[in-house]
Symmetry: C2
Subunit: 205 residues, 2 copies
Amino acid sequence: MAVTDRRARRRTETQEEILRISLEVMAADGVAALSMATVARRLGIQPPSLYKYFPSRAAIYDALFEHGQKGYLDAVRQAAEGMEPGLAAMGASLEAGARWIMANQILAQLLFWRPVPGFTPSEQAYAPALAIRRHFAMLVEGAVARGELAPEAAEEEGLALAASLIAGVVSQQLANQPDASYEDGVFMRLVPRLPEVFAGAYPPR
Amino acid sequence: MAVTDRRARRRTETQEEILRISLEVMAADGVAALSMATVARRLGIQPPSLYKYFPSRAAIYDALFEHGQKGYLDAVRQAAEGMEPGLAAMGASLEAGARWIMANQILAQLLFWRPVPGFTPSEQAYAPALAIRRHFAMLVEGAVARGELAPEAAEEEGLALAASLIAGVVSQQLANQPDASYEDGVFMRLVPRLPEVFAGAYPPR
DNA sequence: AGCTTTAGCTACTACCTATAGCTTATGCTA
DNA sequence: TAGCATAAGCTATAGGTAGTAGCTAAAGCT
């Protein structure tokens, strides 16, 4: 309603720039070491002025968390687009997700670990995580329907195993060889094998 | 040499108490939120006096890291003691390790993730991690020798998969349901299945 | 009893997050 | 075009952090 259309747009731009700078600072100093003062200096303003855009340090983490969840969700969805739900689509999603993680390690740490004391994501920021869960559940159900997996694979334990498989290689990669790319990460090489490992745990009858 | 035997003993006791209090503080406020001032207050001394016992905050993390690695190593070794190296011994070690992790979650976060910006374990503190790796490699080799696994399981990729399997369930458990015990952790229920999942990935010919 | 070493202290530096309250600039609206 | 609401910046300040410097007092070996 044109209350202050131009101003609102500039404000949004500034907020986005703050998030971009925050990622740089976290990449340099560690995820939990994000400093409002450093971000403000890089932006060219005084530290207290940053609070005009984000009410607290946790609010920046929350915005980044949501941003990350959406990016990861997009990556895994896009990879399975147009494919029949099944093991092949699951493999494509897993690989795309792993590639996204290696390209967005800082965000991935925020999503997969809990590195920041005192920060827990808001419900809104966490929402895409549920969609990610549903996405993989759908793919596993497809694989069951195609006879590629036993029906138990789509139950709670099976989905927990699927989530653990990818979380495992990602955790090992980020903790032990964080600077590698997807191509040369020792643990990333396991990603293409995960669908068959999962199928080995729930072979169809 | 009795240079100052009694004093040395008291000093060691104080250092141990500092580590104990540090674990309490980390449990309450988060692994990365360890505060020298808080530890000092709980010990009943002024913050600068803490530096007589540990030269820095990172030194406390390092001592805890080494302590944790040794505890975990002990747990997995003891579980396999007296058993023939093989899948069964691997299962026993994995379960004992998982139980230790759920009983020592703060230390586990320090070992399995990298939650503290600016802290990387010293070589000495990291040494038991190599022994843990060798322990599991030995068990996998035993399983290969007994014909329970294909020879490839004992190569780099196989060992990376084994490490990822346990890291995965642990990461998921600690991130999503940290307050559960070993018995009622949703992801911990997967631990007894891990040896067969691993065997499914490297079936003997 | 004397002397060395340790364990504590206070004072301080240089950071940090966050709040309060003021001033200036922006840009919509009458 | 003039006025005015609001946004965006500022400084000052409170209360916290890690770590250093330098002093004093206690402990305990010889």
